[in-house]
């Protein structure tokens, strides 16, 4: 998709691919033929630059024909460079300006509580994104309001646009920080499908605390020449690279 679009963010899409696959195909209660079903679980891709992997999961789920994936980033396509609410069924929020997703998810979880609806809300954020102050406002807010139907998955691929997260703005220790904010924290390998599934299922029995799944991931996962290669944060592969990548995946 990104190869065809000739722009996009392959690295952060691939680091989140396993998480999103497990979420969409084994966890979320949703109805692709009834996208606005009021009791659906909600998923907010707060790291909006991971749009391609979200779109792939939505297409595979049946929200729209897979052929439409080739229109990513093209004029007139509902597959905007970053997800936009109202343009594509299954997209729950307009994201891409980093930091807003947990707050959006918290609002959805509050509404579910008011309406006594049992749905859960999942939000995927990046570790670079956790630089944003709003992430920590939302962390305090969600714990204060005991939003135990809210699960945030932090795709910790250790890199952001300008380099290693540790060197740009070190945000570790993440486990301690989230626990201090009143969250239940599960520290997992974000490419181990069983660990992802059991962590997402473990959130079912919460206790007044929102859950943070700290998913340790590899940027560009699955494509040898993209793994941990910061060049592929926001650069599309060439045609030859795309072919090579698809052979590996």
């Amino acid at each position: 998709m990104i190869g065809t679009a000739e722009s996009g963010h392959p690295g952060g899409s691939l680091s989140a691919a396993d998480i999103i696959a497990v979420l969409y195909f084994s966890v979320l209660r949703h109805r692709p033929d009834d996208p606005w079903w009021s009791e659906r679980d909600r998923f907010v891709l707060s790291k909006g630059h991971g749009a391609p992997v979200l779109y792939a999961a939505l297409a595979r789920s049946g929200y729209f024909p897979s052929a439409q994936l080739a229109t990513l980033r093209k004029m007139g396509s509902p597959l905007q460079g970053h997800p936009e609410y109202g343009k594509l069924p299954g997209v729950e929020a307009s994201t891409g300006s980093l930091g807003q997703g947990i707050s959006l998810g918290a609002g959805m979880a509050l509404a579910g509580r008011l309406d006594r609806k049992p749905y859960r809300v999942y939000v995927l954020i990046g570790d670079g994104e956790a630089n944003e102050g709003q992430v920590w406002e939302a962390a305090a807010f969600s714990a204060h309001f005991k939003l135990d139907r809210l699960t945030v998955i932090l795709d910790c691929n250790r890199q952001q646009l300008d380099g290693w997260t540790r060197e740009i703005l070190d945000i570790e220790p993440l486990v301690d920080k989230w626990e201090a904010f009143g969250w239940r924290v599960l520290d997992i390998n974000g490419h181990d499908l069983e660990q992802i599934l059991s962590a997402l299922n473990a959130t079912e029995n919460s206790d007044g605390k929102p859950t943070l799944i700290l998913a340790r991931t590899t940027k560009g996962k699955g494509v040898s020449f993209m793994e941990n290669n910061i060049e592929f944060h926001g650069m599309a592969p060439t045609a030859e690279q795309t072919a090579a990548a698809l052979r590996e995946l």
Binding site: S94, M108, F145
Partner: protein, 324 residues
């Protein structure tokens, strides 16, 4: 000639707002309210007291509050979001942009303590750029009530409108302009006083100043119309064009910077549809300071007397251009 109006202070627009929100909350269970630790000041407090399960105090964290309101709106709630105008629009502008305006969600943003008339707290709390910011956002409606009656009516209209709205309320008691029975329509400006020579288009507290200015002008034989343009967006283009063609001179008056608010917006409409002279009364590219509202209005050029001087200036322009 009309009888002079007697200045009678009514409730502050923020107090009228607080009552209206309770009425709206009682009528519609989808209504929820969020505040950033200012509910005593913004007057979301009465709603919080009446409907505690539908009120969320978000603490002093405006960005999170605005995006959380958006999340509530995607689930069918109608959130009313409160803070001081300056903090809501300036601190949470990007959240309003991407969480609310871009997806065109049904969220009502209520900025209290608008303008400089909150007075003594000074420039950090005053709001001189909120309308410019709000009007810049595609699809966001922007309202500026002038007294308690219009505020209550406009809040009810905002609640019925499906889509994002920004509404500014004020801290001080507001002079009474309308009788309780006055009716308001969405996006329809109100011509309060007819006139032949100049039309003053004002909103907020400047509507009262405009009315006083019109009385002074009448004594000098100048016939001045006064229009309350309580809705900056969508702007009542036909009323503005009609006034421009009838009086061939327009003055705008607002408690806001001259850039990006009523003056800019009216000038654009007049320039496009019916070019006649437009002069603007407002704050000139500066922040204000601590002081009483009256002293600040005097220093920053927002009194009836400033409007009268501007009427004289525009009449001079009008005469010059008609000679030419």
């Amino acid at each position: 000639m009309m009888a002079p109006r007697k200045k009678e202070l009514g409730a502050a627009t923020r107090d009228a707002y607080g009552q209206a929100l309770v009425e709206i909350g009682a009528a519609d269970p989808r209504v929820v309210a969020l505040d950033a630790d200012l509910s005593k000041s913004t007057k979301s407090g009465p709603f919080a007291k009446k409907f505690p399960e539908r009120f969320f105090n978000c603490g002093i964290a405006e960005a999170n509050m605005v995006s959380a309101a958006a999340g509530l709106a995607t689930c069918g709630k109608i959130p009313f979001v409160h803070s001081f105008a300056s903090f809501l629009m300036c601190k949470a502008f990007d959240q309003i942009r991407m969480s609310i305006a871009n997806p065109h969600l049904n969220v009502k943003l209520i900025g209290s303590h608008g303008g400089i008339s909150l007075g003594e707290d000074g420039a950090s709390q005053q709001s001189v750029e909120d309308f410019a910011l709000a009007c810049a956002l595609p699809g966001v409606s922007v309202l500026a009530p002038s007294d308690a009656v219009s505020c209550r009516a406009l809040v009810h209209l905002a609640a019925r409108h499906v889509g994002p709205v920004y509404l500014r309320t004020g801290r001080p008691k507001a002079p009474v302009i309308y009788s309780e029975s006055e009716r308001f329509d969405w996006g329809v400006a109100k011509r309060i006083v007819p006139g032949r020579d100049v039309t003053i288009m004002a909103n907020g507290l400047l509507v009262w100043e405009a009315l006083m200015a019109a009385e002074t002008c009448a004594k000098r034989g100048i016939s001045v119309a006064v229009m309350d343009v309580h809705t900056l967006k969508p702007l009542d283009v036909s009323a503005i064009v009609a006034a421009a063609s009838e009086t061939a001179a327009i003055i705008t008056a607002e408690e806001h910077l001259l850039s990006g608010g009523l003056g800019s917006r009216v000038a654009q409409v007049v320039g496009e549809h019916c070019p006649v002279p437009v002069l603007s009364v407002g704050i000139r590219d500066t922040y204000a300071e601590s002081g009483s509202p009256e002293a600040l209005f005097e220093k920053y050029g927002l009194t009836a007397q400033h409007i009268v001087s501007t009427v004289e200036a525009i009449l001079k322009q009008k005469r010059t251009s008609s000679i030419a």
